[in-house]
Symmetry: C2
Subunit: 340 residues, 2 copies
DNA sequence: TACTCTACTGAAAGCGCTGTCATTTCTACT
DNA sequence: AGTAGAAATGACAGCGCTTTCAGTAGAGTA
């Protein structure tokens, strides 16, 4: 601890101003002096105190990332992408996830308020009045992942789910002759869910596919829950020759396994497709047809936007949309040409 | 931004000292004055500047967590546990993972050096001279996860792998009549791998089980690699009536699938067991017999120890060992009484 | 009345750094 | 020689906070 700029200055026989100049590579410092200072720095193992620096510069080089949860590969990949990019750009990453009952307001306030982080990336699965109010108060650069908060200035990173969902469903209908598609979706209030259901309605309408009242289920993205639902429903679904469109790969895997447990096979008796293209999708047998979501790119993009805005606060708000891609494997019963 | 303690003081008609006293609940401040200050604070939406505070107190209430990688459920669960506990204790978590070629030294130095974090938890899969040198230089509280660095003072959180491995292998030998056990392990230099192999040798010796020269493989914990190895080897293994002991569930899943692809079935033709008890273990068919590792507890425990040491630096070094537990499912061919 | 306590509050000194402005030294030109 | 300008460096004022020390006022005591 506690080797300060003064110590360096003393050892190099210069004033602290000069040391500071060497540190910040600004103004011109005489070649020889600079060398002297630099060797004093490395001799002493000096590194500038972040607090003092932050106090002056109002910059911490820390970025915050707030996620709704940390469970599952999805978030883990977002974090991975964010971490990588942050380090490339010379920033540190502070990660928090919403805990228990809190809807994130408390957390975002805690992280965003006291000036610790230079910018905040938040992923919100559900925008309510409280979260909006909290976000409105945040005065630092803000990037919203996978959502939009009206009335609050922020950049956003969204994934173009619509295209993915449409491609997926069209594939089921056109290439696999699906005439009925059951949806095992996320929570009703979830932004993703809403968006995907819209696309679903659109495609089914367009194709003249009947959607029965009970054809849309709202679960929690967990394998187990989907498995339990599957145990009760797979026979009925199979009887009605339905396809299952699950909102993530884990739930799809749950359905596949439930079918298997019921003596049915995928895709012959019950075709199933997933979403996200996590590793789960290639670990089930048959492997899942799914939609690839660029998870780590989301994290990286969020960090990118954040840095850009930190360095140029004036820039107009940006909305970055990331492509999704249909990945055809065996679980949907199509002649699978695809590899990977 | 920028409502400072002075603004609060002005509004409450007191000096900044008094505001500070109210903030820190120390000394006695007159009841009435305190109320005035408090309402000024909330009127202004004031919250103290972390940098100024950190500069004085030498405390940031930020804890660092350095992981060797972020891929996979293992790390994601560690993070989850750490995040939860950190928030409970009022600390923020800064997470970084080693990137690309770096062995972590660079990162640990970056995080640990400049006094930003109050304490550092690191998970190192491989201790080399460079990492040791880096850790020696770190002057803040240090917790090492799943390893030990001689010569450096630190607390540690380890998992008692030995017990788990022994229980697992004994189960294979005694209850499943294994006479040959092939190991699909992690990298040779990896601490975990070494520890587990020791236990493996011990148990096989004790049971008089023959270990052929080529029976131990060193892979990278990935499903794909294990699958590829499996494709080449499963027939041979099955012919020799071998059991496969994989170092994590993902590789176990890879082997199971490779067997399936070769027309063999688990456990009948090739029993396979995993390690960690991640969700993968319950997603394969058959579900994996494995050893449960308390992943999120590791994260939580690391944070606990860190906080304790931050608050009491004198405390002698502590080594916390977390239990592992054998989880018997169907992949090993035992009469599975177990649930979940 | 004079003095001592107690209870509270304010003034001011930094914490380690950056950035402005002043100062010094040196070179170039009249 | 005298002066202007450029180049290099130093002195110093904060950034927003905590904390020590020094008041001040009122109550209690002799």
């Amino acid at each position: 601890m506690s080797v300060s700029i003064q110590d360096v200055a003393d050892r190099a026989n210069v004033s602290i101003s000069t040391v500071s100049r060497v540190l910040n590579r600004r103004n011109i410092v005489n070649e020889e002096t600079r060398k002297r200072v630099e060797s004093a720095i490395s001799d002493l193992g000096y590194s500038p105190n972040v607090f003092a620096r932050g106090l002056m510069l109002r910059k911490s080089h820390i970025l915050g990332l707030v996620l709704p949860d940390l469970h599952g590969e999805f978030y883990s990949e977002v974090i991975r992408g964010a971490n990588l990019r942050a380090r490339e750009l010379g920033y540190n990453l502070m990660i928090s996830s919403v805990v228990a009952k809190d809807d994130g307001s408390e957390l975002m306030a805690a992280v965003g308020d006291h000036g610790l982080v230079d910018g905040l990336a938040v992923m919100i699965s559900e925008v309510n009045a409280r979260t909006r109010a909290t976000l409105e108060k945040i005065k630092i650069p803000l990037v919203v992942l996978d959502g939009d908060v009206e009335g609050v200035k922020h950049d956003s990173v969204v994934i173009d789910q619509r295209t993915g969902v449409v491609a997926l469903l069209r594939h089921l209908i056109e290439d696999c002759q699906a005439r009925r598609i059951v949806v095992v979706g996320g929570l009703e209030t979830n932004i993703d869910t809403i968006e995907r259901l819209e696309a679903y309605r659109e495609v089914t309408d367009e194709a003249g596919i009947e959607v029965a009242a009970g054809d849309v289920y709202h679960l929690d993205y967990e394998y187990d829950t989907a498995f339990d639902l599957g145990v009760k429903k797979v026979r009925e679904w199979a009887r009605r020759r339905a396809f299952v469109f699950a909102a993530n790969d884990e739930m799809a895997a749950g359905i596949v396994d439930a079918a298997l447990a019921a003596g049915l096979s995928t895709p012959d008796d019950l075709p199933v497709v997933g979403f996200d293209d996590t590793r789960v999708a290639t670990m089930t047998r048959p492997r899942l047809t799914t939609v690839r979501v660029p998870m780590s790119s989301m994290g990286a993009a969020a960090i990118d936007l954040l840095c850009q805005r930190v360095e140029n606060p004036k820039r107009p708000a940006v909305k970055l949309s990331l492509e999704t891609e249909l990945v055809v494997r065996e679980s949907c019963g199509a002649a699978a040409v695809a590899k990977s």
